[in-house]
Protein backbone atom coordinates (compact mmCIF):
# COMPACT_ATOMS: atom_id res chain seq x y z
CA UNK A 1 0.00 0.00 0.00
CA UNK A 2 2.54 2.55 1.09
CA UNK A 3 5.19 3.92 -1.21
CA UNK A 4 4.00 2.12 -4.32
CA UNK A 5 1.30 4.51 -5.35
CA UNK A 6 -1.60 2.19 -4.74
CA UNK A 7 -4.55 2.34 -2.43
CA UNK A 8 -5.53 5.85 -3.48
CA UNK A 9 -8.55 4.66 -5.40
CA UNK A 10 -10.39 2.95 -2.59
CA UNK A 11 -12.31 5.89 -1.23
CA UNK A 12 -13.64 9.27 -2.25
CA UNK A 13 -12.23 10.57 1.01
CA UNK A 14 -8.63 10.02 -0.13
CA UNK A 15 -6.71 12.25 -2.50
CA UNK A 16 -3.96 10.75 -4.67
CA UNK A 17 -0.56 12.49 -4.33
CA UNK A 18 -1.12 14.42 -7.54
CA UNK A 19 -4.48 15.68 -6.38
CA UNK A 20 -7.03 13.39 -7.97
CA UNK A 21 -9.94 11.54 -6.41
CA UNK A 22 -9.87 8.29 -8.32
CA UNK A 23 -13.34 7.14 -7.32
CA UNK A 24 -14.69 10.29 -8.91
CA UNK A 25 -12.67 9.65 -12.07
CA UNK A 26 -14.02 6.12 -12.23
CA UNK A 27 -17.58 7.38 -11.93
CA UNK A 28 -16.87 9.65 -14.89
CA UNK A 29 -15.61 6.60 -16.79
CA UNK A 30 -18.90 4.83 -16.17
CA UNK A 31 -20.54 7.73 -17.97
CA UNK A 32 -17.98 7.76 -20.78
CA UNK A 33 -18.85 4.13 -21.63
CA UNK A 34 -22.58 4.67 -21.78
CA UNK A 35 -24.69 5.31 -24.84
CA UNK A 36 -24.36 8.82 -26.23
CA UNK A 37 -26.69 11.46 -24.82
CA UNK A 38 -26.79 14.92 -26.36
CA UNK A 39 -28.59 18.15 -25.73
CA UNK A 40 -28.89 21.35 -27.74
CA UNK A 41 -30.49 24.68 -26.94
CA UNK A 42 -32.25 26.02 -30.00
CA UNK A 43 -33.80 29.44 -30.41
CA UNK A 44 -37.17 28.36 -29.02
CA UNK A 45 -36.32 25.55 -26.62
CA UNK A 46 -34.14 22.63 -25.72
CA UNK A 47 -33.88 19.18 -27.35
CA UNK A 48 -32.45 16.14 -25.56
CA UNK A 49 -31.61 12.90 -27.34
CA UNK A 50 -30.32 9.55 -26.08
CA UNK A 51 -28.80 6.55 -27.82
CA UNK A 52 -30.00 3.48 -25.96
CA UNK A 53 -27.96 0.32 -26.36
CA UNK A 54 -30.20 -2.70 -26.68
CA UNK A 55 -29.87 -4.89 -23.62
CA UNK A 56 -31.87 -7.74 -25.09
CA UNK A 57 -33.58 -8.63 -28.35
CA UNK A 58 -36.72 -9.34 -26.38
CA UNK A 59 -36.87 -5.91 -24.73
CA UNK A 60 -40.17 -4.07 -25.19
CA UNK A 61 -39.51 -0.81 -26.97
CA UNK A 62 -39.60 2.33 -24.84
CA UNK A 63 -39.32 0.37 -21.59
CA UNK A 64 -35.81 1.48 -20.68
CA UNK A 65 -36.12 5.23 -20.35
CA UNK A 66 -33.29 7.72 -20.46
CA UNK A 67 -35.29 10.94 -20.37
CA UNK A 68 -37.54 11.94 -17.50
CA UNK A 69 -39.79 14.89 -16.78
CA UNK A 70 -38.98 16.48 -13.42
CA UNK A 71 -41.61 19.21 -13.39
CA UNK A 72 -43.83 20.75 -16.04
CA UNK A 73 -41.08 23.12 -17.05
CA UNK A 74 -38.02 20.90 -16.59
CA UNK A 75 -36.73 17.46 -17.44
CA UNK A 76 -33.51 15.47 -17.62
CA UNK A 77 -31.68 12.94 -19.75
CA UNK A 78 -29.23 10.64 -17.96
CA UNK A 79 -26.09 8.99 -19.30
CA UNK A 80 -24.38 6.25 -17.32
CA UNK A 81 -25.79 3.84 -14.78
CA UNK A 82 -29.54 3.88 -15.31
CA UNK A 83 -30.30 3.06 -11.69
CA UNK A 84 -28.19 5.97 -10.43
CA UNK A 85 -29.99 8.14 -12.95
CA UNK A 86 -33.31 7.29 -11.39
CA UNK A 87 -32.04 8.32 -7.99
CA UNK A 88 -31.02 11.68 -9.45
CA UNK A 89 -34.38 12.07 -11.12
CA UNK A 90 -36.26 11.34 -7.95
CA UNK A 91 -34.16 13.91 -6.10
CA UNK A 92 -34.76 16.45 -8.86
CA UNK A 93 -38.50 15.89 -8.60
CA UNK A 94 -38.34 16.32 -4.83
CA UNK A 95 -36.38 19.57 -5.21
CA UNK A 96 -38.84 20.90 -7.78
CA UNK A 97 -41.83 20.03 -5.60
CA UNK A 98 -40.23 21.44 -2.49
CA UNK A 99 -39.34 24.70 -4.18
CA UNK A 100 -42.82 25.10 -5.55
CA UNK A 101 -44.53 24.41 -2.26
CA UNK A 102 -42.19 26.80 -0.44
CA UNK A 103 -41.93 29.71 -2.87
CA UNK A 104 -45.05 29.17 -4.96
CA UNK A 105 -43.14 29.40 -8.25
CA UNK A 106 -41.69 26.72 -10.48
CA UNK A 107 -38.03 26.17 -9.65
CA UNK A 108 -35.75 28.14 -11.99
CA UNK A 109 -33.43 25.99 -14.10
CA UNK A 110 -30.22 27.24 -12.55
CA UNK A 111 -31.50 26.69 -9.01
CA UNK A 112 -32.50 23.12 -9.85
CA UNK A 113 -29.17 22.50 -11.57
CA UNK A 114 -27.28 23.96 -8.62
CA UNK A 115 -29.20 21.85 -6.14
CA UNK A 116 -28.66 18.70 -8.19
CA UNK A 117 -24.97 19.51 -8.42
CA UNK A 118 -24.77 20.00 -4.66
CA UNK A 119 -26.55 16.71 -4.10
CA UNK A 120 -24.25 14.90 -6.54
CA UNK A 121 -21.20 16.48 -4.94
CA UNK A 122 -22.15 15.14 -1.49
CA UNK A 123 -21.44 11.64 -2.77
CA UNK A 124 -17.83 12.61 -3.49
CA UNK A 125 -17.01 13.49 0.10
CA UNK A 126 -17.67 10.53 2.36
CA UNK A 127 -16.04 7.12 2.51
CA UNK A 128 -19.37 5.46 3.17
CA UNK A 129 -20.86 6.32 -0.22
CA UNK A 130 -19.83 6.12 -3.85
CA UNK A 131 -20.30 8.85 -6.47
CA UNK A 132 -23.16 8.63 -8.96
CA UNK A 133 -22.10 7.05 -12.25
CA UNK A 134 -24.31 9.48 -14.05
CA UNK A 135 -24.07 12.69 -16.03
CA UNK A 136 -27.36 14.55 -16.14
CA UNK A 137 -28.46 16.86 -18.93
CA UNK A 138 -31.11 19.19 -17.57
CA UNK A 139 -33.47 21.11 -19.83
CA UNK A 140 -35.65 23.86 -18.42
CA UNK A 141 -37.86 26.63 -19.76
CA UNK A 142 -38.80 29.29 -17.23
CA UNK A 143 -38.90 33.04 -16.87
CA UNK A 144 -35.26 33.11 -17.92
CA UNK A 145 -36.00 31.31 -21.20
CA UNK A 146 -34.83 27.89 -22.39
CA UNK A 147 -31.71 26.62 -20.64
CA UNK A 148 -29.55 23.51 -20.83
CA UNK A 149 -27.32 22.35 -17.98
CA UNK A 150 -24.93 19.46 -17.47
CA UNK A 151 -24.34 18.02 -14.00
CA UNK A 152 -21.39 15.63 -13.78
CA UNK A 153 -20.54 12.90 -11.23
CA UNK A 154 -18.01 15.17 -9.54
CA UNK A 155 -20.77 17.66 -8.77
CA UNK A 156 -19.70 20.25 -11.31
CA UNK A 157 -22.46 22.05 -13.17
CA UNK A 158 -22.30 24.16 -16.31
CA UNK A 159 -24.75 25.76 -18.70
CA UNK A 160 -24.33 24.89 -22.38
CA UNK A 161 -25.96 25.69 -25.68
CA UNK A 162 -24.99 22.23 -26.79
CA UNK A 163 -23.14 19.30 -25.29
CA UNK A 164 -22.80 15.54 -25.40
CA UNK A 165 -21.81 12.77 -23.00
CA UNK A 166 -21.20 9.04 -23.38
CA UNK A 167 -19.32 6.95 -25.95
CA UNK A 168 -19.78 9.15 -28.99
CA UNK A 169 -19.40 12.48 -27.18
CA UNK A 170 -16.38 13.70 -29.11
CA UNK A 171 -17.89 13.16 -32.53
CA UNK A 172 -21.22 14.50 -31.35
CA UNK A 173 -19.65 17.68 -29.94
CA UNK A 174 -17.86 18.26 -33.22
CA UNK A 175 -21.16 17.97 -35.06
CA UNK A 176 -22.99 20.22 -32.59
CA UNK A 177 -20.36 22.92 -33.09
CA UNK A 178 -21.24 22.98 -36.77
CA UNK A 179 -24.93 23.64 -36.09
CA UNK A 180 -26.29 27.18 -36.15
CA UNK A 181 -28.26 26.83 -32.96
CA UNK A 182 -29.35 30.44 -32.67
CA UNK A 183 -31.18 30.13 -36.00
CA UNK A 184 -32.51 26.63 -35.44
CA UNK A 185 -35.98 25.79 -34.15
CA UNK A 186 -36.59 22.73 -32.01
CA UNK A 187 -38.49 21.16 -34.92
CA UNK A 188 -35.25 21.28 -36.90
CA UNK A 189 -33.33 20.48 -33.75
CA UNK A 190 -34.83 17.01 -33.30
CA UNK A 191 -33.71 16.03 -36.81
CA UNK A 192 -30.23 17.39 -36.15
CA UNK A 193 -30.03 15.46 -32.89
CA UNK A 194 -31.29 12.26 -34.54
CA UNK A 195 -28.74 12.64 -37.34
CA UNK A 196 -25.88 13.12 -34.90
CA UNK A 197 -26.94 10.13 -32.80
CA UNK A 198 -27.08 7.92 -35.87
CA UNK A 199 -23.79 9.25 -37.14
CA UNK A 200 -21.80 8.64 -33.95
CA UNK A 201 -23.31 5.22 -33.38
CA UNK A 202 -20.76 2.82 -34.81
CA UNK A 203 -21.64 -0.68 -33.82
CA UNK A 204 -23.14 -3.49 -35.78
CA UNK A 205 -25.90 -3.74 -33.21
CA UNK A 206 -28.84 -1.40 -33.64
CA UNK A 207 -30.02 1.03 -31.00
CA UNK A 208 -33.15 2.70 -29.79
CA UNK A 209 -33.34 6.47 -29.91
CA UNK A 210 -35.17 8.59 -27.36
CA UNK A 211 -35.99 12.25 -27.96
CA UNK A 212 -37.43 14.77 -25.54
CA UNK A 213 -37.93 18.50 -25.77
CA UNK A 214 -39.26 21.60 -24.10
CA UNK A 215 -40.21 24.42 -26.45
CA UNK A 216 -43.03 26.51 -27.85
CA UNK A 217 -44.36 23.49 -29.78
CA UNK A 218 -44.64 21.50 -26.55
CA UNK A 219 -46.36 24.40 -24.78
CA UNK A 220 -43.20 25.08 -22.76
CA UNK A 221 -43.67 21.71 -21.10
CA UNK A 222 -41.05 19.02 -20.95
CA UNK A 223 -42.21 16.00 -22.89
CA UNK A 224 -41.01 13.19 -25.09
CA UNK A 225 -41.09 14.24 -28.72
CA UNK A 226 -44.40 13.01 -30.25
CA UNK A 227 -43.95 9.61 -31.87
CA UNK A 228 -44.70 10.76 -35.38
CA UNK A 229 -42.17 13.60 -35.27
CA UNK A 230 -39.59 11.32 -33.69
CA UNK A 231 -40.10 8.72 -36.40
CA UNK A 232 -39.76 11.34 -39.11
CA UNK A 233 -36.56 12.59 -37.54
CA UNK A 234 -35.17 9.09 -37.28
CA UNK A 235 -36.06 8.30 -40.89
CA UNK A 236 -34.28 11.48 -42.01
CA UNK A 237 -31.28 10.52 -39.90
CA UNK A 238 -31.11 7.04 -41.38
CA UNK A 239 -31.42 8.42 -44.91
CA UNK A 240 -28.66 10.93 -44.19
CA UNK A 241 -26.44 8.21 -42.79
CA UNK A 242 -27.02 6.01 -45.83
CA UNK A 243 -26.26 8.91 -48.12
CA UNK A 244 -23.12 9.65 -46.16
CA UNK A 245 -22.03 6.05 -46.41
CA UNK A 246 -22.72 5.95 -50.13
CA UNK A 247 -20.78 9.14 -50.61
CA UNK A 248 -17.90 7.72 -48.63
CA UNK A 249 -18.12 4.51 -50.63
CA UNK A 250 -18.03 6.46 -53.88
CA UNK A 251 -14.98 8.36 -52.71
CA UNK A 252 -13.33 5.10 -51.76
CA UNK A 253 -14.10 3.65 -55.19
CA UNK A 254 -12.52 6.53 -57.06
CA UNK A 255 -9.47 6.53 -54.87
CA UNK A 256 -9.20 2.76 -55.33
CA UNK A 257 -9.29 3.13 -59.11
CA UNK A 258 -6.63 5.83 -58.92
CA UNK A 259 -4.49 3.65 -56.77
CA UNK A 260 -4.88 0.76 -59.17
CA UNK A 261 -3.80 2.91 -62.09
CA UNK A 262 -0.80 4.15 -60.21
CA UNK A 263 0.09 0.64 -59.24
CA UNK A 264 -0.09 -0.59 -62.83
CA UNK A 265 2.15 2.24 -64.03
CA UNK A 266 4.68 1.53 -61.32
CA UNK A 267 4.63 -2.17 -62.15
CA UNK A 268 5.26 -1.54 -65.84
CA UNK A 269 8.15 0.75 -65.04
CA UNK A 270 9.63 -1.81 -62.72
CA UNK A 271 9.29 -4.55 -65.25
CA UNK A 272 11.11 -2.53 -67.86
CA UNK A 273 13.88 -1.67 -65.49
CA UNK A 274 14.17 -5.29 -64.53
CA UNK A 275 14.42 -6.41 -68.13
CA UNK A 276 17.18 -3.91 -68.78
CA UNK A 277 19.08 -5.00 -65.77
CA UNK A 278 18.72 -8.60 -66.80
CA UNK A 279 20.03 -7.88 -70.24
CA UNK A 280 23.05 -6.05 -68.87
CA UNK A 281 23.76 -8.79 -66.42
CA UNK A 282 23.59 -11.44 -69.10
CA UNK A 283 26.01 -9.55 -71.28
CA UNK A 284 28.39 -9.13 -68.41
CA UNK A 285 28.11 -12.81 -67.62
CA UNK A 286 28.90 -13.81 -71.17
CA UNK A 287 31.99 -11.61 -71.22
CA UNK A 288 33.19 -12.95 -67.95
CA UNK A 289 32.75 -16.58 -68.99
CA UNK A 290 34.65 -15.95 -72.21
CA UNK A 291 37.50 -14.40 -70.27
CA UNK A 292 37.48 -17.30 -67.90
CA UNK A 293 37.67 -19.84 -70.72
CA UNK A 294 40.68 -18.06 -72.15
CA UNK A 295 42.35 -17.95 -68.80
CA UNK A 296 41.72 -21.66 -68.43
CA UNK A 297 43.21 -22.48 -71.78
CA UNK A 298 46.34 -20.49 -70.97
CA UNK A 299 46.67 -22.14 -67.63
CA UNK A 300 46.28 -25.61 -69.14
CA UNK A 301 49.00 -24.89 -71.65
CA UNK A 302 51.35 -23.63 -68.95
CA UNK A 303 50.62 -26.67 -66.84
CA UNK A 304 51.43 -29.06 -69.68
CA UNK A 305 54.74 -27.33 -70.35
CA UNK A 306 55.71 -27.40 -66.70
CA UNK A 307 54.87 -31.10 -66.51
CA UNK A 308 56.99 -31.87 -69.53
CA UNK A 309 59.90 -29.98 -68.00
CA UNK A 310 59.54 -31.76 -64.71
CA UNK A 311 59.42 -35.18 -66.33
CA UNK A 312 62.63 -34.41 -68.20
CA UNK A 313 64.35 -33.30 -64.98
CA UNK A 314 63.29 -36.48 -63.21
CA UNK A 315 64.67 -38.63 -65.99
CA UNK A 316 67.99 -36.76 -65.92
CA UNK A 317 68.39 -37.11 -62.13
CA UNK A 318 67.54 -40.81 -62.33
CA UNK A 319 70.30 -41.31 -64.88
CA UNK A 320 72.70 -39.36 -62.68
CA UNK A 321 71.84 -41.52 -59.64
CA UNK A 322 72.40 -44.70 -61.59
CA UNK A 323 75.78 -43.42 -62.73
CA UNK A 324 76.79 -42.55 -59.16
CA UNK A 325 75.64 -45.92 -57.81
CA UNK A 326 77.73 -48.02 -60.19
CA UNK A 327 81.25 -47.61 -58.55
CA UNK A 328 79.71 -48.30 -55.10
CA UNK A 329 78.10 -51.54 -56.23
CA UNK A 330 81.32 -52.60 -57.77
CA UNK A 331 83.15 -51.89 -54.51
CA UNK A 332 80.67 -53.90 -52.40
CA UNK A 333 80.85 -56.81 -54.78
CA UNK A 334 84.57 -56.77 -54.56
CA UNK A 335 84.48 -56.56 -50.74
CA UNK A 336 82.10 -59.51 -50.51
CA UNK A 337 84.21 -61.67 -52.63
CA UNK A 338 87.28 -60.71 -50.59
CA UNK A 339 85.47 -61.55 -47.34
CA UNK A 340 84.44 -64.91 -48.64
CA UNK A 341 88.01 -65.62 -49.56
CA UNK A 342 89.41 -64.63 -46.11
CA UNK A 343 86.97 -66.97 -44.19
CA UNK A 344 86.30 -64.51 -41.29
CA UNK A 345 83.13 -65.27 -39.35
CA UNK A 346 80.98 -62.43 -38.27
CA UNK A 347 80.21 -62.20 -34.44
CA UNK A 348 76.81 -63.38 -33.32
CA UNK A 349 74.56 -60.52 -32.34
CA UNK A 350 74.67 -60.84 -28.47
CA UNK A 351 78.42 -61.06 -28.20
CA UNK A 352 78.79 -58.04 -30.42
CA UNK A 353 76.49 -56.02 -28.11
CA UNK A 354 78.52 -56.97 -24.94
CA UNK A 355 81.66 -55.94 -26.56
CA UNK A 356 80.20 -52.58 -27.54
CA UNK A 357 78.99 -51.89 -23.92
CA UNK A 358 82.40 -52.76 -22.48
CA UNK A 359 84.06 -50.40 -24.86
CA UNK A 360 81.62 -47.59 -23.87
CA UNK A 361 82.31 -48.17 -20.12
CA UNK A 362 86.01 -48.07 -20.68
CA UNK A 363 85.65 -44.68 -22.33
CA UNK A 364 83.57 -43.07 -19.47
CA UNK A 365 84.93 -45.00 -16.43
CA UNK A 366 88.05 -42.84 -15.98
CA UNK A 367 85.86 -39.94 -14.74
CA UNK A 368 84.64 -41.61 -11.48
Amino acid sequence: MSGIGSGYDLSTSTFSPDGRVFQTDYAQKAVDNSGTVIGIRCKDGVVLGAEKQLISKMLESNSNRRTFPVDRHAGVACAGLAADGRAIVSRAMAEANNYKSFYGDPIPGHVLAERLATYTHLFNMYWSVRPFGVSTLLASYGKEGPHLYLVEPSGTMHRYFGTAVGKGRQGAKNEIEKLKLEEMSCREGITAVAKILHQVHDEEKGFEMELAWICEDSGRQFQRVPQQLAEEAEAAAKAARLENQEQALGKLDTSLAELRQELAAAAAELRQELAEQRKELRQELAEQSKELAEQRKELCQELAEQRKELLAAVAASEARVAAAQKPLVDLVTAAMSALADSNIQPLPHAARQEQEEAEAEACSGSDS
Binding site: F102, Y103, G104, D105, P108, H110, V111, E114, K143
Partner: protein, 227 residues
Amino acid sequence: MDGGLHDLQQAVSMGTTIMAASFDGGVVMGADSRTSTGSYVANRVTDKITPLTDSIYICRSGSAADTQNLSRYVQWFLEQHGMELGEEPAVSTAAKLAQEMAYQNKNFLQAGLIVAGWDRHDGGSVYAIPLGGTLVKVPFTIGGSGSAYIYGLCDKLWRPNMTEEECHAFVVKAVSHAMARDGSSGGCIRTVVISKDGVKRSFLPGDRVPVAFGELPAPQRQPQVQA
Protein backbone atom coordinates in the same frame (compact mmCIF):
# COMPACT_ATOMS: atom_id res chain seq x y z
CA MET B 1 -61.28 47.56 37.10
CA ASP B 2 -59.16 50.13 38.84
CA GLY B 3 -59.96 52.85 36.38
CA GLY B 4 -57.22 53.30 33.77
CA LEU B 5 -54.61 50.55 33.90
CA HIS B 6 -56.96 47.96 32.41
CA ASP B 7 -56.26 49.19 28.93
CA LEU B 8 -52.52 48.76 29.30
CA GLN B 9 -52.95 45.05 29.99
CA GLN B 10 -54.43 44.55 26.51
CA ALA B 11 -52.30 43.29 23.69
CA VAL B 12 -50.54 45.93 21.63
CA SER B 13 -52.65 45.89 18.53
CA MET B 14 -52.89 47.85 15.39
CA GLY B 15 -56.49 48.80 14.93
CA THR B 16 -55.52 50.02 11.62
CA THR B 17 -56.21 51.26 8.18
CA ILE B 18 -53.85 49.89 5.56
CA MET B 19 -54.13 49.68 1.80
CA ALA B 20 -52.25 49.18 -1.40
CA ALA B 21 -53.26 49.99 -4.98
CA SER B 22 -51.58 49.38 -8.30
CA PHE B 23 -51.23 51.99 -11.00
CA ASP B 24 -49.64 52.02 -14.41
CA GLY B 25 -46.04 51.08 -13.60
CA GLY B 26 -46.10 50.47 -9.88
CA VAL B 27 -47.94 50.40 -6.58
CA VAL B 28 -48.90 52.86 -3.86
CA MET B 29 -49.15 51.61 -0.28
CA GLY B 30 -50.70 53.62 2.49
CA ALA B 31 -51.34 53.32 6.21
CA ASP B 32 -52.37 55.33 9.22
CA SER B 33 -49.94 55.49 12.13
CA ARG B 34 -51.94 54.48 15.23
CA THR B 35 -50.94 51.59 17.52
CA SER B 36 -53.12 51.03 20.56
CA THR B 37 -53.37 48.86 23.66
CA GLY B 38 -57.06 48.89 24.34
CA SER B 39 -58.06 52.51 24.11
CA TYR B 40 -54.55 53.75 24.92
CA VAL B 41 -52.58 54.94 21.92
CA ALA B 42 -49.20 53.25 22.42
CA ASN B 43 -47.63 54.84 19.35
CA ARG B 44 -49.07 57.67 17.26
CA VAL B 45 -46.43 57.70 14.56
CA THR B 46 -46.11 53.98 13.87
CA ASP B 47 -44.60 52.79 10.57
CA LYS B 48 -46.85 49.98 9.44
CA ILE B 49 -45.27 49.77 5.98
CA THR B 50 -42.22 47.57 6.46
CA PRO B 51 -39.63 46.73 3.79
CA LEU B 52 -39.18 43.05 2.92
CA THR B 53 -36.60 43.70 0.18
CA ASP B 54 -35.46 46.84 -1.59
CA SER B 55 -38.56 46.86 -3.76
CA ILE B 56 -41.13 44.82 -1.83
CA TYR B 57 -42.99 46.17 1.20
CA ILE B 58 -45.59 44.77 3.55
CA CYS B 59 -48.48 46.59 5.27
CA ARG B 60 -49.11 45.12 8.69
CA SER B 61 -52.35 44.98 10.69
CA GLY B 62 -53.35 42.97 13.73
CA SER B 63 -50.91 42.17 16.54
CA ALA B 64 -47.85 44.38 16.32
CA ALA B 65 -45.66 41.64 17.79
CA ASP B 66 -46.95 38.91 15.46
CA THR B 67 -46.64 40.95 12.31
CA GLN B 68 -43.22 42.35 13.19
CA ASN B 69 -41.80 38.90 13.76
CA LEU B 70 -43.50 37.42 10.77
CA SER B 71 -42.04 40.20 8.66
CA ARG B 72 -38.56 39.54 9.99
CA TYR B 73 -38.84 35.87 9.07
CA VAL B 74 -39.97 36.79 5.59
CA GLN B 75 -37.12 39.30 5.27
CA TRP B 76 -34.68 36.55 6.21
CA PHE B 77 -36.17 34.00 3.81
CA LEU B 78 -36.13 36.51 0.99
CA GLU B 79 -32.53 37.42 1.61
CA GLN B 80 -31.53 33.73 1.39
CA HIS B 81 -33.72 33.27 -1.63
CA GLY B 82 -32.29 36.30 -3.41
CA MET B 83 -28.80 34.87 -2.99
CA GLU B 84 -29.77 31.48 -4.41
CA LEU B 85 -31.71 33.09 -7.22
CA GLY B 86 -29.02 35.57 -8.16
CA GLU B 87 -31.56 38.38 -8.54
CA GLU B 88 -34.16 40.31 -6.55
CA PRO B 89 -36.97 38.01 -5.43
CA ALA B 90 -40.37 38.43 -7.07
CA VAL B 91 -43.26 40.07 -5.25
CA SER B 92 -45.24 36.86 -5.70
CA THR B 93 -42.56 34.95 -3.84
CA ALA B 94 -42.57 37.38 -0.95
CA ALA B 95 -46.35 37.18 -0.76
CA LYS B 96 -46.25 33.38 -0.87
CA LEU B 97 -43.74 33.25 2.00
CA ALA B 98 -45.79 35.64 4.14
CA GLN B 99 -48.96 33.73 3.35
CA GLU B 100 -47.39 30.38 4.18
CA MET B 101 -46.24 31.65 7.58
CA ALA B 102 -49.61 33.25 8.31
CA TYR B 103 -51.46 30.11 7.29
CA GLN B 104 -49.26 27.51 8.98
CA ASN B 105 -49.45 29.45 12.27
CA LYS B 106 -52.97 30.80 11.92
CA ASN B 107 -53.98 29.54 15.36
CA PHE B 108 -51.24 31.53 17.06
CA LEU B 109 -51.23 34.71 15.01
CA GLN B 110 -53.35 37.73 14.50
CA ALA B 111 -52.04 39.15 11.25
CA GLY B 112 -53.75 40.81 8.31
CA LEU B 113 -51.15 41.61 5.68
CA ILE B 114 -50.77 43.32 2.34
CA VAL B 115 -47.65 42.57 0.29
CA ALA B 116 -46.91 44.86 -2.62
CA GLY B 117 -43.94 45.89 -4.70
CA TRP B 118 -42.28 45.87 -8.08
CA ASP B 119 -40.23 43.19 -9.86
CA ARG B 120 -38.92 42.91 -13.38
CA HIS B 121 -41.12 39.97 -14.30
CA ASP B 122 -44.57 41.18 -13.23
CA GLY B 123 -44.06 44.94 -12.77
CA GLY B 124 -46.07 46.35 -9.84
CA SER B 125 -48.32 43.92 -8.01
CA VAL B 126 -50.46 43.79 -4.88
CA TYR B 127 -51.25 40.72 -2.79
CA ALA B 128 -53.78 40.58 0.03
CA ILE B 129 -53.25 38.12 2.88
CA PRO B 130 -56.23 38.42 5.25
CA LEU B 131 -56.53 36.81 8.68
CA GLY B 132 -56.98 33.14 7.73
CA GLY B 133 -53.95 33.02 5.44
CA THR B 134 -55.54 33.28 2.04
CA LEU B 135 -53.40 34.70 -0.74
CA VAL B 136 -55.14 36.81 -3.37
CA LYS B 137 -53.56 38.88 -6.13
CA VAL B 138 -55.64 42.04 -6.51
CA PRO B 139 -55.50 45.38 -8.30
CA PHE B 140 -56.01 47.12 -4.95
CA THR B 141 -56.90 46.09 -1.43
CA ILE B 142 -57.68 47.59 1.95
CA GLY B 143 -57.20 46.12 5.40
CA GLY B 144 -57.45 46.73 9.12
CA SER B 145 -60.40 47.84 11.25
CA GLY B 146 -60.68 51.13 9.35
CA SER B 147 -61.14 49.45 6.01
CA ALA B 148 -64.71 48.49 6.82
CA TYR B 149 -65.68 52.14 6.50
CA ILE B 150 -64.21 52.76 3.07
CA TYR B 151 -65.16 49.76 0.89
CA GLY B 152 -67.80 51.77 -0.90
CA LEU B 153 -65.51 54.73 -1.32
CA CYS B 154 -62.69 52.63 -2.78
CA ASP B 155 -64.96 50.67 -5.09
CA LYS B 156 -66.23 54.01 -6.36
CA LEU B 157 -62.88 55.75 -6.75
CA TRP B 158 -60.46 53.06 -7.94
CA ARG B 159 -59.85 52.97 -11.69
CA PRO B 160 -57.40 50.88 -13.69
CA ASN B 161 -54.43 52.61 -15.37
CA MET B 162 -54.26 55.57 -13.00
CA THR B 163 -51.15 57.70 -13.02
CA GLU B 164 -48.86 57.63 -10.02
CA GLU B 165 -50.23 60.98 -8.77
CA GLU B 166 -53.87 59.94 -9.19
CA CYS B 167 -53.21 56.70 -7.35
CA HIS B 168 -51.38 58.47 -4.54
CA ALA B 169 -54.28 60.94 -4.13
CA PHE B 170 -56.74 58.02 -4.08
CA VAL B 171 -54.84 56.26 -1.30
CA VAL B 172 -54.52 59.38 0.85
CA LYS B 173 -58.22 60.17 0.46
CA ALA B 174 -59.32 56.64 1.30
CA VAL B 175 -57.07 56.35 4.36
CA SER B 176 -58.11 59.76 5.66
CA HIS B 177 -61.78 58.81 5.44
CA ALA B 178 -61.15 55.60 7.34
CA MET B 179 -59.18 57.48 9.99
CA ALA B 180 -62.10 59.85 10.38
CA ARG B 181 -64.64 57.08 11.01
CA ASP B 182 -62.51 54.44 12.76
CA GLY B 183 -61.58 55.20 16.32
CA SER B 184 -58.69 52.70 16.17
CA SER B 185 -57.14 54.41 13.16
CA GLY B 186 -55.60 57.81 13.20
CA GLY B 187 -52.52 59.91 13.50
CA CYS B 188 -50.62 60.56 10.34
CA ILE B 189 -50.70 59.01 6.86
CA ARG B 190 -47.63 57.22 5.58
CA THR B 191 -47.36 56.20 1.93
CA VAL B 192 -44.81 54.26 -0.09
CA VAL B 193 -44.71 54.41 -3.88
CA ILE B 194 -42.79 51.57 -5.56
CA SER B 195 -42.05 51.52 -9.29
CA LYS B 196 -39.21 50.51 -11.58
CA ASP B 197 -37.51 53.78 -10.64
CA GLY B 198 -37.34 52.82 -6.96
CA VAL B 199 -39.13 53.64 -3.74
CA LYS B 200 -40.59 57.00 -2.66
CA ARG B 201 -41.80 57.38 0.89
CA SER B 202 -43.98 60.26 2.02
CA PHE B 203 -45.42 61.31 5.31
CA LEU B 204 -48.56 63.43 5.92
CA PRO B 205 -48.63 64.87 9.47
CA GLY B 206 -51.85 64.62 11.45
CA ASP B 207 -52.72 68.30 11.04
CA ARG B 208 -52.48 68.03 7.25
CA VAL B 209 -54.71 64.98 6.93
CA PRO B 210 -57.77 66.01 4.87
CA VAL B 211 -60.86 66.33 7.06
CA ALA B 212 -63.97 64.34 6.36
CA PHE B 213 -67.51 65.72 6.48
CA GLY B 214 -68.54 66.80 9.99
CA GLU B 215 -65.02 66.86 11.42
CA LEU B 216 -63.56 69.98 12.93
CA PRO B 217 -60.53 71.05 10.97
CA ALA B 218 -57.28 71.17 12.93
CA PRO B 219 -56.36 74.73 13.92
CA GLN B 220 -53.97 76.01 11.28
CA ARG B 221 -50.62 77.22 12.47
CA GLN B 222 -50.26 80.95 11.99
CA PRO B 223 -47.03 82.38 10.80
CA GLN B 224 -45.21 83.90 13.77
CA VAL B 225 -45.31 87.69 13.44
CA GLN B 226 -42.73 89.74 15.32
CA ALA B 227 -44.46 92.38 17.49
